[in-house]
């Protein structure tokens, strides 16, 4: 199955998008990129420290992986817009993973600042990929604002709790006119498979891989899981039923 998918004007070769946060070293990042076969990876924008050698950008470039700057850490639309502008200057991309969180404890998106930032960035020509909660109404508003995708959380960032409310994700998918990318809370492979089975177009995850005991192996697991879930969604699963149904013929039984 061809797992590429269209995001804005780009055809991405993988439905697994990587977040680089939490990765213990550039060496591990390199292994994770290879094992995940991802086509895009997030970076954050932070103050440059004099004297540090090497850059995450070199690792991404070597692997041919597209860089996706985020606005992690921003609490207001103002900060997020500025950060996106700086990222565009620094990285030469008008794509941005838009994060505007309400506080550091929950890291949940602030619907009001988020929508305001999305509207401003769309107006400035950005391809906006907003990290949002699982509220179908907010997802709709972000699409109306011109976002190129919606990226609802499964559960709060870094928790590994999986998809807390599958009904909400399914509702977002059912009315989406842009790609839906599940973007937080994934803990293990079956979570990623479930996201795809619910109809998400892609999965974005960081901690589940970068903080696993064996990151590269988990990256391979996630790649397989996204593929599995995508295939299963298209294959048309059997309906759930509450009564058993024999899979062996009930006729032709001998008398023994």
């Amino acid at each position: 199955m061809n797992d590429s998918f269209q995001l804005a004007d780009e055809l991405l070769a993988s439905r697994l998008i990587l977040g680089s946060g939490g990765v213990p070293s550039m060496q591990v990042l390199d292994e994770v990129l290879a094992a995940s076969q991802t086509a895009m990876c997030t970076v954050a924008m932070r103050r440059a420290h004099p004297g540090t050698h090497g850059s995450i950008l070199d690792v991404l470039e070597r692997r041919g992986v597209r860089v996706l700057p985020n606005t992690a850490g921003c609490r207001t639309a103002h900060e997020a817009v500025r950060t996106a502008q700086l990222a565009r200057e620094a990285l030469g991309t008008n794509w941005v993973k838009l994060e505007v969180v309400a506080d550091d404890r929950t890291l949940l998106p602030d619907p009001f600042e988020l929508l305001e930032a999305a509207e401003a960035l769309v107006a400035q020509g950005f391809v906006v990929l907003p990290y949002t909660n699982d509220d179908p109404v907010l997802a709709r508003r972000l699409q109306q604002a011109g976002c190129a995708a919606v990226m609802p959380l499964g559960s709060p960032i870094g928790t590994g709790l999986g998809i807390g409310n599958p009904d909400n994700i399914a509702m977002i998918v059912s009315e989406a006119r842009v790609p839906v990318i599940l973007d937080a809370g994934i803990g293990t492979a079956s979570d990623a498979a479930l996201a795809m089975e619910l109809g998400c177009d892609a999965v974005l995850l960081a901690s589940a891989i970068t903080r696993a005991q064996h990151p590269a192996q988990m990256a391979a697991a996630m790649a397989a899981a996204v593929s599995a879930g995508r295939l299963a969604r298209g294959a048309g699963r059997i309906p759930k039923r509450h009564h058993a149904r024999a899979s062996s013929p009930t006729e032709g039984m001998p008398v023994l």
């Binding site: 997030t42 970076v43 050698h53 996706l68």
Partner: protein, 72 residues
């Protein structure tokens, strides 16, 4: 003159362009030559790279020099 660079106070010679300032900051730093991967804001306003070499830094300004790191 007095500047704030990435939150820290610095005293530098007058008549410095932003390009020169950034160059000093990253001497042996983590960005490629020509500033690939980094961006700058002065007093909260983004300064496009194309203007760095002509942008004269003034006393009292706050300069933020950012670069891409792992995250997200």
């Amino acid at each position: 003159m007095q500047l704030t660079i990435n939150g820290d106070p610095h005293t530098v010679a007058a008549q410095l362009t932003l390009a020169e300032l950034i160059d000093r900051h990253r001497s042996a730093g983590n960005t490629s030559p020509g500033g690939r991967g980094s961006a700058a804001a002065v007093d909260g306003e983004v300064v496009p790279r194309a203007e760095w070499s002509t942008f004269a830094v003034r006393d009292g300004q706050a300069i933020e020099i950012l670069t891409a790191v792992q995250g997200g």
